[in-house]
């Protein structure tokens, strides 16, 4: 299994819903899948909201250090 990303989590969530729709799962499996699905959904939503809204301007000063300033539009 690769690194967990938004994309893989979303795909997993979609798959779980599809599997549960097929109605072929027994109760134990269904509950397990349900719990995983809810976790994946939360993970996805967290990723969408976790980045900080920010626009900055990067530059290098005379001594070669990286400078970060807010970008004025």
């Amino acid at each position: 299994m690769g690194k967990k990303t938004f994309e893989t989590a979303l795909k997993k969530l979609e798959e779980i819903v599809k599997q549960m729709e097929s109605n072929a799962l027994d109760l134990e499996d269904a509950v397990k899948k349900y719990e995983t699905g809810i976790k994946e959904a939360k993970y996805c939503l967290d990723i969408l909201d976790k980045t900080e809204k920010k626009i900055s301007l990067l530059s290098v000063d005379n001594s070669g250090n990286l400078q970060e300033k807010p970008f004025k539009q």
Partner: protein, 400 residues
Amino acid sequence: MVEENRQIYTVSNLTRKIKSLLEDNFPFIWITGEISNCSVPGSGHSYFTLKDNNAVISSVMFKNQKSRLKFNLENGIKIFGLARLSLYEPRGSYQLIFEHIEPEGAGATQLAYEQLKKRLADKGYFDDKYKKPIPFISSKVCIITSATGAAVQDIINIAQRRFSNSNLEIVSVKVQGHDSEKEIVNALELINEYQRSDLIILARGGGSLEDLASFNSELVANAVFYSKIPVITGIGHETDFTIADFVADLRAPTPSAAAELAFQDKNALKNKIFKLNENLKNLIKNKIFFLNNTVFDLKSRIKTPQIIIYDHRLRLEEYESRLHNNFLRYIKHKKEKLLYLTDVLNSLNHESILKRGYSITRFFKDKKVILNSDRIKKNDKLEIILSKGKLITKVEKING
């Protein structure tokens, strides 16, 4: 011819004379032709033959002059250029020494573009196997463009519209002019050095082929190719395909389109996840509801001892009633049979026969009925039963 008058040249003399003739008459000339037999030895000078349909002239362009050309001298290119004619005495050969060359037709910039594109394509720079995947969601995106241009505004607007809490870093570069190429390369290297972002957008608004020159340079192409962070380009208009576009991991037709590719529509994604989440909840709820019903149904169908006893009682009663009915039927049947037999018997009764005038003869002694005269002797005592009354008689004669 008179011997005293004849003038004898040395090889050097004649050569020098020809040289001055040639070089004085053709100090600088414009000439057109096609390059062939081109070679570049270690000196870096380009030696080639300029030809047309009927003639060829050896030619050279020295490294110094060559460095001012935007394109490479290659076989098959039709050129026109400024040259002087020179005779090289040690070899007795003349050649054109080019000061300046321009390609015929499309122009130097266009040719340089085509040549670089072909060279990089041959090196595999545009191959899909080198294209890095663009992250679906980037936690931080770095934009390389002019901080004062329209492109940066377009990108910011779209980024914020699609993904409200987008995190952007801008490295401002000149997007045209002399320093542009170097600044773009530096920016790409800076971002790769610090590795702060997941994705780079290299962008510039529209412009002429000359305006886009730095995006068609080999240095920028290299920097894009070697960037460890994936690069989306959005350069010029839809119809502009720069070298950087070909090298980039993903090419967008414009800066705005690059932003669309870099930033997902967050609300759409959220709606999708909410919907999936709801589906999931409903599905598990339905599943449990269904299983619950199944259990209730099964439970209701389980037989309690009372029900089992009741069932048995019902069956018992049924048997009982069947037994009773069968017995009655049996009796009735027997009764009918009896009546029938009585009738039959009645019809066979001897009295009715006697009534019709027949009589029964039997031995008086043992009351045995006589059907035959064989065993009867004379004087045997016989009894004759009539319809009414009996006769006692003696046998007088036996007729065999």
